[in-house]
Point group: C2
Chain length 300, copies 2
Amino acid sequence: MLAALRLVVAESELVAIVNTGDDLELHGLSISPDLDTITYTLAGAVNPATGWGLVGETFSALDGFSRYGMATWFALGDRDLATHLFRTARLREGATLSQVTAEIATAWALQTRLLPMSDSPVRTRVRLSSGEEIDFQEYFVKLHHDVAVSGVRFDGAEQAAPAPGVLEALEEAEVIVVAPSNPIVSIAPILAVPGIKEALVARRDRVVAVSGIIGGHALKGPADRLLVELGSEPSALGVARRLESVVGAFVIDEVDAALKEPIAELGLRTAVCDTIMRDESVSAKLARTVLSIGAGNGDA
Amino acid sequence: MLAALRLVVAESELVAIVNTGDDLELHGLSISPDLDTITYTLAGAVNPATGWGLVGETFSALDGFSRYGMATWFALGDRDLATHLFRTARLREGATLSQVTAEIATAWALQTRLLPMSDSPVRTRVRLSSGEEIDFQEYFVKLHHDVAVSGVRFDGAEQAAPAPGVLEALEEAEVIVVAPSNPIVSIAPILAVPGIKEALVARRDRVVAVSGIIGGHALKGPADRLLVELGSEPSALGVARRLESVVGAFVIDEVDAALKEPIAELGLRTAVCDTIMRDESVSAKLARTVLSIGAGNGDA
């Protein structure tokens, strides 16, 4: 979504508030997958085949991990390791995650400001139907999200504060875009940090979400399955219902045009357009639609 | 030297007591270059062109380090990083360096026992003629040992104890071999750990050293230069004088045959043979000579 937005807005005018509930500690390293994926993507360095990690990456260290019986289910690339080593060393020196994130963004010459949702650790914990509770990355990567889930909680969220700049950005933004991400495990952890949800509610008229569910399915990831497991309809309407308290506008895909009315009945301005960002033309059009309806313009 | 000895002795009968004064912390990693070089060498995995690091290694992470302004003068390979990450994580979990060293040796299927000289940190510090004091690896790698040295000390040595098994190995060994390593920065730190020097003195008759200085020069490294700078003759005799209190026998190269007499006058049994281990035949012959004279046999 950020890549789409910067087709129509100067990169330096964008601020990204990023989920850190996915963060993990592995092999002694502090890993922030969502921050890194956004950094690499905006830098044009992401592996386009996977959507994560670096293009042309090598995985020699991972071979070494096997030798020592270290976990290899989280595929750390060699150049990517430098990012984690840098972050880990800086955090140990006393830097905040915000500071390190800014330093990494600078190292990649990003114009867009990246803000972790909080400098305090928040960890998304997934309760399985078996009763076991596991870390998000275990659920997502190790188990390929191929298990039944009975609940999700955000460990540490209650004690966390928004990172410096987060509330200010939400107060000052012309439009606040909730990306077409998983509402349960990617959007909800951000909203769980005290103050952020309230900041969105306060500016609800300028908040616009894009549905990550298209035709009843997530483009990738387990959002559709999780919605069903946690009692929501696996549709753009189900997503809208989860977000209605914080968003004033909602953008859905053309295949979901029939859901425009039910979503409008929730009190949301709605726009229908192609939301599958397969090329720059579609992406730019979506970005313009999002910004237009988010800025308070009527249905489209 | 270990590789030579195992040509004539079962690997499982060898115990290596290894210098850890060269250890360093870099990028938050606990790095033990001497232990690793020995591990990789005995595993047949060392890069033969450099004598350190892994053969066929990649250096992608190092590219990443540059991006973040991290030091790159110590070339950490990608597979090698796995070793450092494993060691660092295990040490943080509370394992001792001995334990981690054994685990790494097992991972590489080594038959030879590797013992760090101590589980406590000892750091070789090099005082330059400028008055500045720096870490060993800064001297050795970063500055390519191309600076004048006025002194060397082993920070932490006085408080250190020999690692478990070190004194027992020295008590039980049929022969104790002091490798043809740098007497000032590789042998001396081991002897600086309280108890180790005394253990050698107690078994002096079974201790044999091989001169690392041949024809007045070190085969590699700064041993010759350091000997001069710190007041010794840069010769096998100079090395023998530095070690005479702990060794009963001394092996020198054929080019240094003229030094046999002066060394014998120090009270050392002496053997002269080819000490440049260019192939297995020469290496095996040297190993047999070392073990024979070390075991108490007369001059050769």
